[in-house]
């Protein structure tokens, strides 16, 4: 969105009388430009995704997954995870609904890993901030992580670490009534309003941190901590990201600023994935339905996957940028 960048640069220069290339002007430019850009993308993307999503209520997703076996079911679960709501609060009812209906635990986890990690919004956002190759590579590794993670959990026979009430919950089929175009429109519009209300603060905070990194934190400091040549950079980024709770809209500006400061693309992606896929609030929620060993296994698999992906991208990422 070069036009927007130019427009904001003009505003900073002629409106505020600051140099957009200078330190203060630069941070203001970064902040205004990124906030507007992300809000535009957020509105358009969530509307589009919600429209697609209105064709896949959880009951239908469950039926589709129930028809498949083995690896095919895991792959389908990872793919369907890309078109579900971002909100982690819906993951618990989904988990219970899938498990009580007899879906294998691994298939449900493939879905749970892919759902926050990869969605259509992340593809478009990454493409607009970095480029299409990185966006598609991110999606590919995200899906592979979801499929492998779920498969691994299947192999470990973790069913006994699920709270008993989950299996005893009744399965209800919905009437699944076909929606009219008007209803889909209303649904998509409501989703935009709801998600906007939920994430706007995270976006502002994320862009604020991004702007601070972009113009105030010395490059030497960043590269000493997270530089390409530092073997621990991916580890640090993942560990810092895990307890944090935000969605991709809030983390992207931080990743963007880090990459601009010379941080490896793999390190930045690891950070983003760690923040979106694993977070303290979602772990606390999951704890209500699964016991500690399964929760820890889930976290360990996802964290390991994210770290491997980070190193992979750092090693080969220079080809993409």
């Amino acid at each position: 969105m070069q036009w927007l960048s130019d427009l904001v640069a003009w505003l900073v220069r002629d409106g505020f009388g600051l140099d957009p290339a200078g330190r203060l002007g630069g941070s203001i430019h970064f902040f205004i430009y990124d906030v507007i850009k992300i809000f535009i993308l957020l509105g358009v993307l969530i509307f589009t995704i919600s429209w697609v999503q209105s064709y896949f209520p959880p009951e239908r997703t469950r039926r589709i997954l129930g028809q498949r076996k083995g690896l095919g079911a895991n792959i389908m679960a990872a793919l369907l995870g890309t078109i579900t709501p971002f909100c982690s609060c819906s993951s618990i009812p989904l988990f219970i609904g899938f498990t009580s209906a007899g879906l294998p635990l691994g298939v449900t986890f493939s879905f749970l890993i892919s759902s926050p990690l990869v969605d259509l919004a992340s593809i478009i956002l990454l493409a607009s901030v970095f480029n299409w190759t990185i966006a598609l590579a991110y999606v590919a590794v995200g899906l592979v992580l979801a499929v492998l993670g779920g498969t691994l959990i299947s192999r470990m026979k973790m069913e006994r670490h699920v709270e008993a009430f989950v299996f005893n919950s009744p399965v209800m089929e919905s009437d699944d009534g076909h929606l009219t175009r008007r209803q889909r429109f209303d649904f998509a519009r409501d989703q935009v309003a709801e998600i906007f209300g939920k994430v706007w603060l995270y976006v502002l905070i994320g862009v604020g941190i991004g702007a601070a990194i972009h113009n105030w934190v010395p490059e030497t400091f960043i590269s000493a901590l997270l530089g390409q040549d530092k073997w621990w950079s991916v580890l640090v980024a993942t560990i810092v990201g895990i307890p944090m709770y935000a969605d991709i809209f809030g983390t992207l500006p931080i990743a963007e600023a880090l990459v601009a400061k010379g941080v490896g693309i793999g390190t930045a992606l690891s950070f983003m994935m760690a923040v979106t896929a694993l977070s303290l609030p979602s772990m606390i929620m999951l704890k209500r339905v699964v016991k500690l060993p399964l929760l820890l296994l889930f976290a360990a698999i996802v964290a390991t996957g994210i770290i491997l992906i980070g190193y992979l991208f750092n090693a080969f990422g220079t080809m993409f940028l």
């Binding site: 609060c89 009812p93 919950s169």
Partner: protein
Amino acid sequence: MIIKILGSGCKKCIALGENAKAAADVAGIQADIVKVTDYAQIAAFGVMSTPALVIDDKVVSSGKVLSVSQVAEKLGTP
């Protein structure tokens, strides 16, 4: 009559609760509106998307905020 609203306490659940109350008032039904926020209890109804509306222990809608007239329809009062 007992009307239960299933949901983790999001805005939508509150809206559904208000609509349900309004519909019951209009119909002149003496209804207790109960909010169910515990996941185990929500799961016990087999509901996967919230908010859901339960009338006398029967799930009549899930995943959407029904309008006052839609709730009235479910209550069986036009």
